[in-house]
Symmetry: none
């Protein structure tokens, strides 16, 4: 089995509050193609120290993956340090420079002089294009060892690694076939879900099952290895067929699609539309619904009514209703959803009102209390009362997730 | 300043789901007594690999802290590996063995034979007692370098480090004081900002300056060390006083507060209010404004108008205006901002309309084109046209950042 070392570069990764998480993604990807990670190193933005770490890693492992330090500034030293460690020159590439210049031009901006630093390439390296940023990656194969230089930002590193490095590694280090499957569930705690399906998945070491949870959304990853695609898929089918019935309608996606996309596809297919009315989430529900490209096919829009006055002015919530029940209450959530549906002409409208904290709340409805309303074309509007854990961010994230799940269930998907 | 390397031992820390977090605690503690962490390493439970990492670290840094691998099992190799790396013997300690035996006895249990492994001490090492577990720590001072062996579980490692290691380190390495400062800027590219301030900060190795950028928001971290607090603060003042004028009104925060909080504080102080009208961002602007606790003091709410029909119905944007100029245009952004201000009675209203992609856009206004409108109580409303880079997520993030920055400038902060 081929062995890799991962080197994360950046002085900020040596502080007390920041941690390298790129290596988790890289490890998962490397494991998927049968490569083991045997050492992880974090070094600051210092040429000599980094060069030493690269020299050591390259002398003992077949694969060295670096992340970070490819920016245009003085303290971006990865190019220099790797060149020094491998005893190679850095060569200015007019092609790379022109690509960076073109990227700036496409935004109507002029490339800074400092960005020229990013056009230096280690002699003999292949340039890995970076459509998502100015820093191209580099791939050096010394014969004894391959060294990959990747940008630090995860949204640049991840696609570059998947698109450019994985195929090269697969070709260089033959591995077994790996197939994965991703189910997503909501409306159940991570612990409960694990307890429910552990009796199945613990009987299998292949596929490997991993459970990840975030803001009430649970991902169940299955990873099978085999000599053939067919057998790997068969292993996934076998375990999936036992897990899914145990979770019933908690599972909303069998192909990894997120909740907002699953709901959007159903609305589009039915030719129906959606609107929102948000108080404590301030727009996050609309923001999440519109994270899906093409969501204008079914999302009309909505109202952010952060004050009581706005709930009345924009959604027609009667002031007496707020006075009698407070703005965080079942009747107000209902009136908000109905007001949003009326005001936009949408088929469905979701509303959220609650105490996200850290201050606010009442004895009956402490911080974390959230009411979700749903107005529909066919039935009376419905309201759910929730008690959500965590800090302000987490309460708002859970509220959005629960609102989407309430709509999913109303849509019968 | 004394320099430390931290080595976390454990094969589980090289998987895709687990990360070493002990190093964050250790870093914070070390920084507090003026010791800098210059490298972090994670190695699996393998004697030879670990010994090599310890040998390298001890040859170049004054302090090496190891966590993990002190248990009683076969794969607990830290004692062996450090002894080998330092060229010292492992010596069985009857005293340590008796302490472990006594610990078992106190729970009414008998010590297992395997626990004897934990009674081997590196020749010349001091034993660090562990009242919370069976694995004692060890402290080796070679003269050139100190090496500390700590247990992996955080509830054992943390008190042992604080009670046993900090006093020893303080005595061995006279402490220096560390002070930090965080400036935040926007409306300038990372490369341009660096080019502007590098002539200043590169002249100083103390404080150290680090630049981090995300979605158009740039953080400038300064970290100074000194013998006294006063001098550290003075160093920060000195560099800050040169950097800040170069950046002028690009700097919006001198204490690390994020943009939405800075704006909120100004609005609150003036008793003024804000509303939003969002198209392509779908609510993210409102979501960000309301991420600040207490934002209801100044944020009234707003409109998510994701379709043209909604722009007309909720914001009163004339359909002819949209037909003539398209919905992504300067006049429509202006009409949206004015409609939001009118509809909510807020003092200021921000609007966002644009093509976030991946589809859409026109020849003149391709994907990434965003118009930001601002209606104010005092002047004519204003519109800015932007060409933003990246994918859908990034375009939407940049749009929100630019909208907030436009308001900041209008508020003169």
């Amino acid at each position: 089995m081929a062995e890799a070392e991962i080197i994360a570069v950046g002085s900020e990764l040596l502080t007390a509050d920041k941690i390298d998480t790129n290596s988790l993604f890289l490890t998962s990807q490397l494991n998927d193609i049968g490569i083991e990670v045997v050492r992880k190193i974090v070094v600051g933005d210092e040429r000599a120290r980094l060069a030493e770490s690269v020299r050591n890693a390259a002398s003992r492992s077949a694969i060295v993956i670096l992340s970070g330090g490819l920016g245009p500034t003085e303290d971006d030293v990865t190019r220099d340090a790797v060149a020094a460690a491998l005893g190679r020159e850095l060569v200015f590439s007019e092609d790379v420079c022109e690509a960076i210049r073109a990227r700036f031009r496409s935004f109507g901006r002029k490339m800074s002089e400092v960005n020229k630093r990013q056009a230096f390439v280690i002699a003999g390296a292949e340039v890995l294009p970076n459509p998502r940023g100015t820093a191209p990656g580099q791939w050096v194969d010394t014969g004894a060892c391959v060294v990959a230089l990747l940008p630090g930002p995860p949204r640049e590193l991840k696609p570059m690694f998947v698109e450019e490095c994985i195929p090269r590694l697969r070709a260089r280090f033959p591995a077994r076939v790996i197939r994965t499957r991703l189910f997503r569930a909501t409306g159940i705690g991570e612990g409960d879900l694990d307890q429910t399906i552990a009796p199945v998945y613990t009987r299998y070491s292949n596929p490997v099952t991993t459970i990840l949870a975030s803001s009430g959304d649970i991902q169940i990853h299955l990873r099978a290895q085999s000599d053939t695609e067919e057998e790997a898929e068969q292993l996934l089918d076998e375990v999936g067929a036992q897990i899914l019935p145990l979770l019933g309608d908690k599972v909303y996606s069998r192909n990894g699609d997120p909740l907002e996309k699953v709901i959007g596809a159903a609305l589009r297919q039915r030719g129906q539309t959606l609107a929102v009315a948000e108080s404590c989430t301030g727009g996050l529900l609309g923001g999440r619904i519109t994270s899906v490209p093409g969501s204008s096919d079914y999302f009309r829009g909505g109202f952010v009514t952060y004050t009581n006055e706005m709930k009345t002015a924009l959604l027609g919530v009667p002031p007496e209703l707020i006075e009698r029940h407070t703005e965080v209450s079942e009747p107000v959530a209902r009136a908000m959803a109905e007001g949003a549906r009326r005001g936009t002409g949408a088929d469905y409208a979701l509303s959220i009102t609650g105490y996200a904290g850290p201050d606010g709340g009442t004895a009956d409805n402490p911080v974390g209390t959230v009411f979700i309303g749903l107005a529909t074309p066919t039935a009376d509007s419905d309201v759910r009362r929730l008690r959500l854990p965590g800090d302000r961010d987490r309460i708002r994230g859970f509220a959005v997730q629960n609102a989407l799940d309430m709509l999913r269930r109303a849509l019968g998907i």
